[in-house]
Amino acid sequence: MRRIIEALHRHKAIDQWRLLNQTSTSYQLYVIGSMVDCIRKVITNRYYITLYCRHGSGMGHTHLTLLEHELDSLDVRLESAIFVAGRVSNPYYELPGPGYSPAVETFDPSLLGDIEDILFVKLADRLIDAVEREPYVRLSSSEYFLDIQDLRLLNSRGLNAEWKQSEIFFDGVLLSGGPGEEKEIHFEPRARRLQDLDLEVIIRNQAQFARDARHAVLPPSGKYPVVLSGEALTHVFSPIVHHTSGDCQYRRTSRLKPGQPIYLSDEPLGDPLTMISNGFMPFGLRTSPVDHDGIPAGRHEIIREGIFMKPWCMKQSADYLGVEPTGEIANLEIPVGNHAGMTLYDDDQSVLQVHEFSALMPDVVSGGFAAEIKVGYLHRKGEVTPVRGGAVSGNLLEGFNHAYFSTEGRKGQYGLSLTSFGTYSGPESIRFDTFQVSGS
């Protein structure tokens, strides 16, 4: 690091710089059925440098990445990067200075133990045992990733933040059903701590989905209430996150204005939305002491009771807009609502619960989406029928005009004890009354 910092100081054309050193070790285990398919270990050490050069009234910046054994070519690479940064021009902005770097929880010390024991015994064997206890399902394959990273972020204004983070990820597939009619359920939980991956709960839930898939039917077509729960909530907020970004405000591509309601057309009929970016959430996957720029973690209310309070902003957009930077969007905290979960299904008409889409990829600009149902249930007058196939479509920006939040907070469909999909803490279920269902 010292060698790089000295070189950065030596080049007078560099006005500001940021340096992130990331050393990573990744342990990977791949299992087919109960047989080991592959074991991998990957070691990397990288230096990510961003340098800023002033020219005229503007400033250009560029990124370069150095590997450990490339340090001999450091000066040549920096000269080249200075040239590159001089080709573009943006309004000037200043990197954050040294400051308070909050202590946040991002690393699981139990991962410093015997890695083979963690991968084989605490993850793979435990998962295989859990599957064996479940009737009518079997394990197709499972993959386990255990990543440990040491990070240090410095900049030319004296910022110096150092932290360690861990991530455990696994990818599992369960099969259920007779020959030729088997259905699969694929799940990919991710957490920073081993103890947050409650494998037994995960398998119990996923096994039930797999068994239900065997006799799932298409939902009826029509416009009727849709309750999203579990993994289906993963990308529901992405259009709102996009439109409330400082970037989007600066580019004037947002439909939302600070101080104004987020509801674009009709008066809202459902529960008002509050959305908080929470960088402190213990072991959240978007928790870190500082963001990429070096802005300290914080807890920022972006939307309060349906009113867009302030954009979440990285340093560059914040300086351009003349507002306080919040840092990158962190974990989403959504206060729970006033409706007991089961009451969301009380209706004269059918209510569709979607627990998982095949892939929910909304157009973040328009808010439009259409996604196939992978795990769902049709609730009608107390009867619950498993549903698979068909699609739900609508607009996620307009959907919150008429949405109801459950009182139950998400404990996590994957059994994560603190966050649901690692980046969200909020209602377990949200009911939308404006979506369309395409099915039988």
């Binding site: 990957v42 940064a85 021009s89 990829m361």
Partner: protein, 470 residues
């Protein structure tokens, strides 16, 4: 054989690595190594902000060792010879003291080969001045804003790279140098409180020549953007449709292609295993995966396990003929090897992966296809889909569909839509196949599930079929 198109550091590795493989094979039945290096330029400009940077370089080596029962891999981004030498000693020591058993299956290292390959392009991006690249992008942004006053932001993401790859096993030393270029042009328009976005992508294993946009292309993008402001939602149901080559490509790739990746058969996740040699589609349908097609985004000369790129006929006249294999799946299942063993980078494992996957063209002119439909839809644009190899379910997102009424395409537009259903039903419902082949524009990439991204392309002719839309 050495080649001057390889960076000098990699040429050095080419000299010492075969001996390392030899040492590893003294303790395990099979060993190989893959070295990759990727570097290039990345430009991200929009109406308000500019960034030019080197592409995050990916350089590293992965050693693959088969111990008779399973694979063990060790990977690093440190290519220093002394460091690697030390690691080889440690690996040899570990295997000498561990339980290397009689192999469960045998690995064929292939015929002896020492080759180098270089991809083709018209304009080497390295020969284009950075200043000119930036000016080109700024000019393009200005052109779009002048063409339509509803445009509030235009962004350009441009990437070029030189991808170097070397593969070593006891029979083979293969290397390649590929030049790739891609550009993604996104326009955001605002009108009466609504915001819509449309895009054009171009790219592949090609050069800077892709950075040319005709007025016709830009007008079409803006026309579609304006159509999106008027788009309606579609009543859910089964519709007679015609897919454009881009949408046909997404269907070939997502709906069927993932299901013939043989690693999924090993995991009993692919229904295709029960259909080899059986009818899965209308007799009008044939489908190929071919990494050897120059220029396309899924092009390569050999896969990441040293298999030379050749086409694989997957469906021939409606019958499922072959699946796509990697080294392990071909060995375990005793299937012919195809050139589809690919990994995201040295940091990830190999799987069976598609390359350029497409439906073969037929004989019907597009005008005749449109002219023969009383009421239906032209599925014009799609940017995503999701595989379901076990269930053979379809999820393909349609970004823009236009109504066909009485044999003509109207201005009635629907968006967004999702195509769902059962793949064999869809493939068997194909009644017309267009006479010209097209591929998805742009440098697309594909994941396995939600990870393991590799560059791919897909395409086909216009196809006429029935499908559920909602």
């Amino acid at each position: 054989m050495s080649n001057s198109s390889m960076p000098s550091e990699l040429q050095t590795i080419r000299v010492f690595l075969p001996e390392m493989i030899h040492r590893l094979e003294s303790v395990v039945p099979y060993a190989s190594a893959l070295v990759t290096q990727e570097s290039g330029t990345s430009l991200r400009l929009d109406s308000h902000r500019e960034l030019v940077a080197e592409r995050q370089p990916r350089r590293g080596i992965v050693f693959t060792l088969f111990n008779g029962r399973f694979f063990q891999e060790w990977a690093t981004d440190n290519l220093d010879q002394r460091y690697l030498d030390q690691k080889i000693i440690e690996m040899c020591r570990m295997f000498q003291s561990s339980d290397v058993t009689e192999p469960r299956f045998f690995i064929n290292p292939g015929e002896i080969m020492d080759r180098h390959y270089t991809s083709c392009y018209e304009i080497d991006p390295d020969d284009v001045k950075l200043t000119d690249m930036v000016e080109e992008c700024r000019h393009l942004i200005k052109r779009l804003h002048e063409l339509d006053n509803r445009v509030v932001n235009t962004s350009i993401n441009y990437h070029d790279s030189k991808e170097y790859k070397m593969f070593f096993n006891r029979s083979r030393v293969l290397s390649s140098a590929l030049t790739t270029c891609s550009v993604h042009l996104v326009t955001v328009g605002a009108d009466k409180g609504s915001v819509r976005m449309n895009f054009i992508s171009k790219g592949g294993v090609t050069g800077f020549e892709i950075m040319t946009f005709s007025d016709e292309e830009l007008h079409e993008m803006l026309d579609d953007l304006n159509r999106l402001f008027m788009s309606k939602s579609l009543d859910p149901g089964i519709y007679e449709v015609i897919s454009t080559p881009q949408v046909s490509g997404i269907l070939a790739h997502e709906a069927f292609g993932h299901g013939v990746e043989a690693d999924m058969i090993v995991k009993e996740r692919a229904r295709a295993s029960q259909y080899l040699g059986r009818k899965v589609a209308s007799p009008l349908v044939s489908m190929i995966d071919d990494p050897s097609i120059p220029g396309l985004n899924g092009h390569y000369f050999f896969d990441d396990e040293g298999e030379i790129a050749v086409p694989t006929m997957i469906i021939e006249n409606g019958v499922l003929r072959r699946v796509l294999t990697d080294l392990r799946s071909a060995s375990v299942l005793n299937l012919p090897r195809s050139s589809n063993g690919r990994r995201e980078s040295f940091e990830r494992k190999v799987y069976s992966r598609m390359s350029n996957t497409y439906f073969c063209p037929g004989s019907t002119p597009v005008e005749d296809m449109v002219g023969s439909i009383d009421r239906g839809l032209l599925l014009k644009k799609s940017s995503s889909g999701m595989e379901d190899p076990k269930g053979w379910g379809i999820q393909v997102g349609i970004d823009l569909a236009q109504e066909i009424r009485n044999g003509r395409i109207t201005d009635e537009v629907y968006a967004p839509l999702t195509m769902t259903g059962y793949i064999p039903d869809m493939l068997n419902s194909i009644t017309q196949v267009g006479d010209s082949l097209g591929f998805m524009d742009g440098g697309g990439s594909c994941g396995k599930g939600h990870k393991e991204m590799v560059r791919v392309s897909a395409g086909g002719p216009h196809l006429r079929f029935k499908v559920r839309l909602g």
